[in-house]
Structure formats: structure tokens, C-alpha cells
Amino acid sequence: MIKSTFIIISLGILILSPFFGAISLDIDDILTLDSISNNVFFSLRVPRVIFAFFAGGILALCGLLYQTLFRNPLMTPYTLGISSGAVLGAGIGIKLGLGILLFGFTFVGLFSFVGAIFSIFLLLYLAKFLNSSSNNTLLLLGIALSLFYSSALMVVFYTGSPIQNDTLIRFTMGSLSILGYKEPLMLGFMWVLLVSVVFAYRYELQIINISSEFATLKGVDVKKITTVLLFISSLAIAMLVSISGPIGFVGLVVPHIVSKIYSTTINHKILKTTFFGGVFLVFCDTISRVIQTQSELPIGIVTAFLGGPFFVYLIILKEQK
């Protein structure tokens, strides 16, 4: 009963979301070509909802994946310093050439993508020197790198002009404002790739979730699978962060909610987590469009405001038992 209600509400959110936003639409005009409503609906709202759906799915799925691979319920790709790397890249991009386009991409987007990829490779390279079994050390390494990137970002801030700094601050808050279908298509491709690979390894993940030693004993090549999944998920996160900036809490909150509703093993939760992650971000984005301040509310703030208290509630609920 709860499950079907959840799905109906989710589908409702996905369908109705494009109708809400700063500009109120004239329902009769939406299908009239070249009307304002038609333009706003099909070139702004629909691609944005699609983009948010893919973005939320990627964030939630990566959260689930990292929590499983690193056996830490608080783990998200951001904890490993990938978003800090991306933000630092964006900061350098903004400093070097705000507004410059290269192959159709902004300097900021390219640099933050490179920043995210760089931070992943640096992490994986340093991980080679670690004892393969100690995942907590990798987590610690991620946090250390993250702090380093943040300090480097402070240098960028310190030397930046007010305009550069304002752009950078907005980037760090996350935004889903996009125009047209280029970004949704790119991210959609990444989404399909990520979901397919993770789904292909669903049974391996089911075993790894018991314990990594147990998985090895049962014939799972834990190291290989961890590397493949870490790489592909990091790539997806890098692409996402370079377009929308870091968006927190989705990867943390959604997998936990899905676990609460569906008490089942991870192989049954992959598609559900991806779907509800998408719905959650579409919902948050709808709120960010409806609540108007001077401009729309940054999406990262909405996810944090909704996700934060909910997460505290979850932790207290768990500790009460």
C-alpha cells in the first residue's frame, strides 16, 4: 500500500513538475508553436526536469554504490573529494576565463570536469600504495584531499575579483538551470551507462555487501569490480558536477529512504534507488523554481533543507532502537 502510494506520488511529481516555475504558463498555449508558454515549457522546463531526473538518479545510485563498497552508511562520492576537486577546477576555470567557450563547452564546465577527473585519478593512484583491504584508509585519504582542495579554493577566492567570486559561490551552491536538450542528452547517456554497469554487477554487489572477504571466498573478484564501479561512477559524477555544481544530500538520503520502504538486498534496490533519486531531485528542483527570491533558490540549498532534517530524523530513529 505504502509502496504503490509512493510510486503514484512519484509519477505525479514527474508529470506535473514542468508546469510549475517562475513564469506561469498558459495551459492552452503550451501546444501553440512559438508562444511564450510553448517555448518555456519545451526548451526550459521539460529538458530541466529530464536533466534533474538523470542527475538525481546518478547521485542516489552512486550514494548506494559507495555506501556498499566502502561499508559506510555516510559515504557519498562527495566524501572522497570529487566535488571539492570539481569546484576547485571550476574556480580555476572562472579565474582564467569567465564566459569563454571551447568546443561548445564553457571554460568553467571543462575545468571542473577536469578537476573531478583529476581528483579521482589522484585518489586511485594513491590508493595503490594502500593495503587493498582497508577501505577506511581510502576514505581518510579522500577527506584529506578534500580539505586540500578546499584550501586551494580559498587561494582562488582570495585572489579573485568580486564578479569571479560571485560566479564561483553560485557554482558551489549547485544549479540545474539549463537551456535545451544538449545537457540532458549527455547526462542521459552517462545515466544509461552507469545504471547498466551497476545492474550488470548486481549479484556481485549482493555478495560484497555481506563482507568483502566473504565475497572473495565465494569467487567474486572484489578488487576488479570495485575499480570498475568506482571508475564509472566517478565519471558520471564528474560530468554531473561540471554541469550543475555540487548537489549534496541526494546520495545520502535517497538510498536510506529506499531501504526503509523496500527491506531487500541491494540487487533489488539498484533501479528503485535510481528512480526515486530522480524523483527526489525533480521535486526539490520544482520547489527551487517556485520559491522565488531575487532569482531562483539554488538547488543545493533545497536538497540540504529537505534532506538534512530528514537525515537527522533517520539517525535518531535508528539510535533509539
Binding site: Y203, Q206, I207, E213, T216, L217, G219, T264
Partner: protein, 241 residues
């Protein structure tokens, strides 16, 4: 068949075993005092610990055999299962024993599921099928672990202290099952439970001072036991017959 050649194992920078050689396809019981390296040896044989030298299982060098192939040769049954998954049920868990036979990327077959049902029936634990794994008692999980190992269809099964957490009645159940399995599998039994060891009647390997002492028979007499364990024994009573 287990072959160890010039095996040397270090754990936490402490030398556990040194220059160990062994070649046997008999059922063996591995004994030794706490910290002598019984479980360490077992884990090395299963490929989850690093070592130097050579270990071969049924002719396959475990360092060059892919994990999936190795898991078809040998199963390891721990004394206690460290399980982080709160949702997995007994039947789902036993099904994992079929992982190595499952086609990559595809779901488990009906045949796999039938094997699970059979194994659960064999150990009289069908009633646990839908129970969460984390809710079982020690006695129940010991049986579930055995059912899973049986589903893996391996020639060799390692039992790592199977009765360590069990009461006498459950110990007896497990002992009888192990004895039955001896007919079809190579059993490697690691234990401190001398009653169990005596009942199972394997050749005994006692780990002492980083070496293996091999007793093909005549292990269970009070003199030998006193010499090895350093305490008095007074004609051990046999419980399980």
C-alpha cells in the same frame, strides 16, 4: 587434494608458518593452540591471505587461478558469519553458494534454486527459508553455512571451528553432518573441540612452532595430548557416537 610447498605465512609482520610442506587428499583435522595459525593457514589456502611459497588445490595453483575457478574447488565455512546485510534471507544467502555457476550478468537459474531447496531440506532447515539471516541462532546459522557450502559443489570443504559457538546438542548435529559429508568431500576441520576431532577420525595435523606435525593415526592418547597442549588429559570421553 591439497599441496603446500615451502609455504611461509606472515600476518601483521609476525611469522606464523615457516617452510611448510604438505601433500594430501585425505580428510584432515588441524589442531593447535590459540594463535598457532590454524585459521591463518585455512584462509591462505582459500586465497584471502597473502603468503610466499606455493599452494595448490586439486592441482590448481591458487595464485594464478581466478577467484571464480578457485571457489569451485574449495569452500570455507567460518565459525561465525560477519554479515553487514540486514535484509538478506536464508534462501537468498544459500543461493550465493551457486554464484560461481551463474552466468555473468544473468539471474540465478531455476536449477540453482532447486539445489538450494534440496540443501535446506538435507539439513532440516526449510522452515528458515524466508527468515532474515541476521535473526538466526548460532546453531541455525551453522547449518545454513553448511547448506551454502554444499550448494557450491566443491570437492574440498574447510570447517573453521564449526562448534565454537554451539551447545552440546547442536555440536552433535554438526558433527554428524560433517561425518556424513566425509563420504563425498575432502574435509578439512579446524577445531579446539577434541571430542569432535576424535569423533570425525581424520588424520591430524598439529601446528606447533610454525611447523606442521602430521599424525596419521594414534593422536588421541593422553601422553601425546599432554605433550602438545601442556595440560593433563584423563582418557577423553566420546560423546557423539
Amino acid at each position: 587434494m591439497i599441496e603446500l610447498e615451502n609455504l611461509k605465512i606472515e600476518f601483521d609482520q609476525k611469522s606464523i608458518l615457516k617452510n611448510v610442506d604438505l601433500k594430501t587428499d585425505e580428510d584432515i583435522t588441524i589442531l593447535g593452540i590459540n594463535g598457532s595459525g590454524k585459521s591463518t593457514l585455512a584462509k591462505a589456502i582459500c586465497g584471502v591471505l597473502s603468503y610466499s611459497g606455493t599452494i595448490k588445490i586439486n592441482g590448481k595453483n591458487i595464485q594464478t587461478t581466478p577467484p571464480k575457478e578457485l571457489a569451485k574447488e574449495i569452500s570455507y565455512i567460518p565459525a561465525k558469519l560477519e554479515n553487514a546485510d540486514n535484509f538478506i534471507t536464508v534462501s537468498e544467502f544459500v543461493l550465493l553458494g551457486r554464484f560461481v555457476y551463474k552466468e555473468n550478468f544473468f539471474a540465478y537459474s531455476e536449477d540453482d534454486k532447486t539445489k538450494v531447496d534440496k540443501a535446506l531440506k538435507l539439513f532440516n532447515i526449510e522452515y528458515l527459508k524466508e527468515h532474515p539471516l541476521n535473526s538466526l541462532s548460532s546453531g541455525e546459522s551453522a547449518l545454513v553455512l553448511m547448506a551454502q557450502a554444499l550448494c557450491s559443489d566443491t570437492k574440498t570443504i574447510i570447517f573453521d571451528e564449526p562448534t565454537a559457538n554451539l551447545d552440546p546438542k547442536n555440536s552433535k548435529t554438526i558433527a554428524l553432518h560433517i561425518k556424513k559429508l566425509k563420504k563425498t568431500k575432502q574435509i578439512i576441520l579446524i577445531t579446539h573441540d577434541l571430542h569432535l576431532a576424535k569423533f570425525i577420525q581424520n588424520e591430524v595435523i598439529f601446528i606447533k612452532d610454525k611447523k606442521l606435525l602430521h599424525y596419521k593415526k594414534e593422536f588421541f592418547n593422553d601422553k601425546i595430548l599432554k605433550k602438545l597442549y601442556g595440560v593433563e588429559f584423563n582418557s577423553m570421553v566420546l560423546k557423539y557416537d
